[in-house]
Symmetry: C2
Subunit: 217 residues, 2 copies
């Protein structure tokens, strides 16, 4: 499959690399066609990765992973161009963390709205699925790194088929079916994004980012 | 120990009953001295419980559990009277859930502030410890009900000794030391309160409120 990965940070690199390992073709999208990090990504995956603008990547991909910084995601997706994204799934991995007022960050949008919803509203012909935004990127693509892979991840979105496709990808990443919880429509992105402050607090209290939560009952 | 429990709902009843079971004397506080639910609470714990106004209970208790509805907590605590609470620990179990705009509720305060902080700021001579607000009340006092008691709970607050006292109570409730995570100062209440939306989503998706999260790493 051809996959667009928006964002050249750790999250984009980690998810893009995993997708390549799984046999997919990845184009990493960024603001400019000559982004240095994107070039390095292409170099290390000789022949299986390419790079371009957000618009190039969006046109290339059959599915899009939004791994941009949440506060810049809407702008990045606008640069990608609606016509290049319409009808496609956008897996929104971003969190609207606002570091402009210092550490810890606040959320640029929360409570009665979320980044996931904002993307779905702004690009109404896409199918936004919020996923994987509740953990460190290393665990996103390698859940078996901790607790034998037995911990929880979430999907939400308005399109049932799109969620099934994303769940299939999560399973290829190593997630057990029983640990993927569908929370409902895209408004449920509020909860997964508002989980970030406690995630940051737990990370701060334990000095370990390689943790996740497991729902027990 | 003499304990004040503010609030006559399920949370106050559950925590108050557990404290009595553990041998403590409990006074349930509410707006009026003749609250029907508080009377029923007193009746079922013949001799070991009493009821009164918030002010009566605050004066009685060596420690105070705030189990009022979060959107009314500041007002309830004002009725209790600063002079009756100064120097005491307030275990803040409340969440600022605002149901006024329908279901699901939003948070009346979040992101750059929290109810826990607001209580600490308003009643600066008390020692606020945020605790137990991340789960259904049945589990608060009976964690062994699920997963052999192996799941996570949080405390935060500005006073280290107060947190230790609350941790001691949590252990009497059945919480294992290793599962009680101190997140830091009272600003960390933001995270535990902002966890509520995903808690509500998980409850909605699973139709089971008797769940909790376990941190795995």
């Amino acid at each position: 499959m051809k996959v667009a990965v928006f964002g050249t940070g750790n999250v984009g690199d980690t998810i893009g690399s995993k997708l390549i390992e799984l046999g997919h073709s990845v184009m990493m999208g960024s603001r400019t066609a000559d982004n240095e990090k994107a070039k390095a990504f292409v170099d290390k995956h000789n022949g299986k990765a390419s790079a371009g603008t957000f618009a190039d990547a969006a046109a290339f991909g059959e599915i899009i992973f939004n791994c941009t910084a949440g506060v810049g995601s809407i702008e990045a997706l606008k640069m990608a161009g609606e016509k290049n994204m319409n009808g496609k799934i956008i897996v929104d991995v971003a969190n609207p963390l606002d570091f402009s007022k210092g550490i810890p960050p606040s959320l640029a949008v929360c409570n009665t709205n979320s980044l996931g919803e904002e993307i779905q509203k702004t690009f109404s012909q896409t199918k936004v699925v919020k996923a994987l935004n509740t953990m460190w990127c290393g665990l996103m693509v390698n859940p078996t790194m901790i607790n034998g892979g037995d911990h929880s991840t979430f999907v939400c979105g308005n399109d049932a088929e799109a969620k099934e496709e994303v769940k299939t990808i999560l399973k290829l990443f190593g997630w057990a079916e029983k640990n993927i919880l569908d929370l409902g429509d895209i408004t449920k992105a509020r909860g997964t994004e508002m989980y970030l402050p406690i995630w940051l607090s737990i990370y701060g209290a334990t000095n370990n980012g390689a943790f996740n939560i497991k729902i027990v009952s």
